[in-house]
């Protein structure tokens, strides 16, 4: 016995498959939206990370330029200088003011200089 579908059955099936395809389409659209939202979120995160990295680079560049300016990061240039090291020693024994005379501790600068020059 052949199972012949009636017209109403066919119509019902068609409606059913149309509804299915619509819900699949709507699911796909939702998924696409979700993916797009996720991408936007990721983009925001990347932008924030980029902003922080740029800030850090600028901060480091500022420090490097400041250190270069102050001469902190480079060795001193010996060839261009006519004098490398000057020793000035001062060890007065007496300090006189209008009313007082005060003795000052003597520094042993000669030993200090000689010992350094041995280097």
């Amino acid at each position: 016995m052949s199972m012949k579908k009636t017209k109403s059955q066919n119509l019902q099936m068609a409606e059913f498959s149309f509804a299915n395809s619509q819900s699949i389409q709507s699911l796909n659209a939702n998924q696409k939206d979700m993916i797009l939202v996720q991408l936007l979120k990721d983009l925001g995160l990347f932008k924030e990370k980029l902003r922080l990295a740029e800030g850090e680079i600028m901060h480091k560049e500022y420090h490097i330029s400041r250190m270069k300016k102050d001469g902190n990061s480079y060795p001193v240039e010996l060839n261009e200088s006519r004098l490398h090291l000057a020793f000035l020693f001062s060890s007065p024994l007496i300090r006189r003011t209008h009313v007082t005379v005060e003795n000052i501790m003597q520094l042993d600068y000669l030993t200090e200089i000689n010992d350094i020059l041995k280097v």
Binding site: H84, A86, F89, P92
Partner: protein, 181 residues
């Protein structure tokens, strides 16, 4: 290495500044410009900054003010790359040089006395690293300080401070009193 030694009179200081040395090793005292230190003379000198004690021709103490040093450095258009003030309590003297335009100043922390042994060890390693091995000032300072810490002790090492123009002091560890110079 080219070097010279002189007594620190005003005239010799001027001559040294115009020689444009890379480093100045100043062995001397500095005092704070206060009424307690200057007595009645404070009224005359109160606006001239702190004081380096230089010598006059007779070997007596000669006040040299921060303001005068600053002016001397300004007109000679030369700023010291590094000044090392090696005496005890030398932070006052160090600050005078720093405020007058020295780029780096090494001195002994305020209120501290330093042993001869530590001072000498530090100076040797510092100058050797700076001039012979060609390191920069900050690295030479750190290496010399490390040497003192290992060979003498860490408390002596922590008394050495590096002042950098436009920055806070460097290597500021807490200190404890110890043997002296």
């Amino acid at each position: 290495m080219k070097y010279k030694t002189d007594v620190a009179t005003v005239s010799n200081l001027r001559s040294t500044i115009t020689d444009c040395p890379i480093a100045l090793h100043f062995s001397g005292h500095g005092i704070e410009n206060t009424h307690a230190n200057l007595g009645q003379e404070y009224a005359l000198y109160k606006n001239k900054g702190n004081i380096l004690l230089l010598e006059d021709e007779n070997g007596m103490a000669d006040y040299f003010f921060e303001e005068d040093l600053k002016y001397m450095i300004e007109i000679s258009q030369n700023a010291f790359e590094v000044v090392f003030v090696s005496s005890c309590y030398s932070q006052f003297a160090g600050e005078v040089f720093l405020n007058a335009g020295a780029k780096h100043v090494i001195c002994i922390r305020r209120g501290e006395r330093i042993s001869d042994k530590a001072s000498l060890r530090f100076s040797r390693v510092f100058y050797e690293t700076l001039f012979v091995k060609n390191y920069n000032v900050c690295a030479s300072f750190s290496i010399a300080k490390e040497e003192v810490s290992k060979v003498i002790n860490s408390s002596e090492a922590s008394k050495f401070i590096l002042l950098i123009h436009g920055q806070d002091d460097y290597g500021n560890d807490p200190t404890t009193p110890s043997s002296h110079k």
